[in-house]
Symmetry: C2
Subunit: 317 residues, 2 copies
């Protein structure tokens, strides 16, 4: 007689790596979004591997049988949270830890590339034009990083290592972290404003016309958090009116960014396809992380990275 | 009766900043290249402000009356050194110290931008194409920095701060610096090979076909030293044959790079117009540095940054 093994439902067409290690200890069932609702009630665990999918919200079974644990292979959980899931006793965990350093490096890359005018250098090269310019020194500039989770903290470390003076802003002021009351003051003095916050009711469109209005005309804005942290129309106007010098968005209200979006050609805006945290090998890391968490869960031990479902993120230090 | 003040001949059409501070203590005479030879014999000091000019070599008066001190407002002095100047008792100094941190930041910008595939992101943006890629983590990669002067050492510090494992190669092995014997071994293991050496007889075209041949196919080569450190045709072939993954040249054998040069459109090559060290404000810094040196010289004190004219650079620590 075979002992019953828990069923792990994986939301993704492609099989995640490393799950073979759970052979005999878990029954792995793959599903696409269309079949999620019918398969959720029989699952013990849901692994949301496809971080672009919003299917969980529509398919969550409410009061009926449901997974006891949902793991998101992403830093944000906004794409799967819904009131029924928040109200349930199902535990939600995320991939906190896998993306911190990659996103921090990505932000550092943008800051340095902009300071050194690299995008324009590439333009001049296409035109075979030799045009010498003086560029900015990064050491001694000021950054305001909004979002005091692991990504924001890693970003602060990376920028500090380059000699940038940094200020970190979080929901709750504490040692080394400013509270929301300091935000406008810090943003108004920053050369670099970095959005790295989770998307919650409090952070929805926190970067709006008023906030772009208090930034310096020389300021550069970067969003590596979630698209809805930003009022995209307000950002477009701020760039057009030169309230700020430039911006880089890696995340958007609608992803993929539609081909007819005006953002693609907005002067001063760098558009990238939600890839700041996605380094080569991270699929392996995400798979290995889930396997490790599963082994704890199956052994009845406490799960790491448990999301505060009311807040929408893992409460930090 | 007015006491005689020394004559400072400035090779540049534009007046350098800060020299007004020497009013009454120096007679400042500007010259272009065409009039340099006739004015040199009467000058006590030559300030080579135009770092692109090779005019000093042709105009140097040999055994005749000549400046007792030549200051180059640049890190390299290859553009002004000639056998007659080397053999004379004229002291040559350079702008060591002004460019170190800016060049180091520029190298860090290139390394991060390439690791994060930023040039391709900008291409896709122009095509309104959303194409997610996985990119490289910089922390944990290996760099070999060739040139153990202040620029090379600052570059090592900047890359180390990003978590890169670095090796520094100089002419003479010493603590923290590998000698030339280790060069091929280090280059063959490096993800990033950075040329930051002065141009001397020993370093002329040190990056040739053989040396590109020992690099990894994934290696990226950066030259922020002098164009003639590199055999440009060999680099073009190495890129075309994928011996290495890519390169960035900020300096060239011929500058400005001619509009018909094949280098402009070489796949995998980033071309920039000799600007890595030129941050906003550096003209002020260079002017202030000369004023400081002049005050020491006029007081009969020892000059800093004295170039070893046989070697072609300031011997270091």
């Amino acid at each position: 007689m075979t002992p019953t093994v828990p069923t792990v439902l994986v939301l993704d067409a492609d099989p995640p790596p490393r799950l073979g290690r759970l052979t005999g200890r878990a029954r792995i069932v793959h599903t696409d979004a269309a079949h999620l609702a019918e398969r959720l009630p029989a699952a013990d665990v849901l692994l949301v591997w496809d971080f672009t999918s919003h299917a969980v919200r529509g398919a969550w079974p409410g009061d009926g049988p449901r997974p006891r644990w949902v793991h998101a292979a992403s830093a944000g959980v906004d794409h799967l949270m819904c009131p029924e899931l928040a109200a349930s006793d199902t535990v939600v965990t995320n991939a906190r830890g896998v993306f911190d350093q990659p996103v921090a490096e990505y932000v550092a890359a943008l800051v340095l590339a902009v300071a050194k005018d690299l995008p324009r250098t590439l333009e001049y090269q296409r035109e075979r034009t030799w045009r010498h310019r003086e560029t900015r020194r990064v050491a001694g500039t000021r950054a305001c990083v909004v979002g005091s989770g692991p990504v924001g903290r890693a970003t602060v470390r990376a920028l500090k290592a380059l000699g940038v003076t940094t200020a970190l802003v979080g929901r709750v002021p504490r040692t080394g972290v400013h509270g929301p009351d300091d935000l406008d003051r810090l943003v108004s003095r920053a050369d670099w404003v970095i959005a790295a916050a989770p998307l919650t009711e409090r952070t929805y469109r926190m970067f709006d016309a008023r906030r772009f209005g208090v930034m310096q005309p020389s300021a550069f804005f970067v969003n590596v958090g979630r698209g809805d942290l930003v009022d995209e129309e307000a950002l477009a106007r701020a760039l057009a009116r030169r309230w700020i010098a430039g911006a880089a968005l890696d995340v958007f209200a609608a992803e993929p960014l539609p081909a007819d979006s005006a953002l693609w050609e907005l002067p001063g805006l760098i558009v990238s396809p939600h890839m700041s945290g996605d380094t080569i090998g991270r699929r392996d890391e995400l798979g290995a992380q889930f396997v490790e968490f599963y082994e704890r869960w199956a052994a009845g031990r406490a799960l790491p990275n448990v999301v505060d479902k009311a807040r929408g993120y893992v409460p930090g230090h």
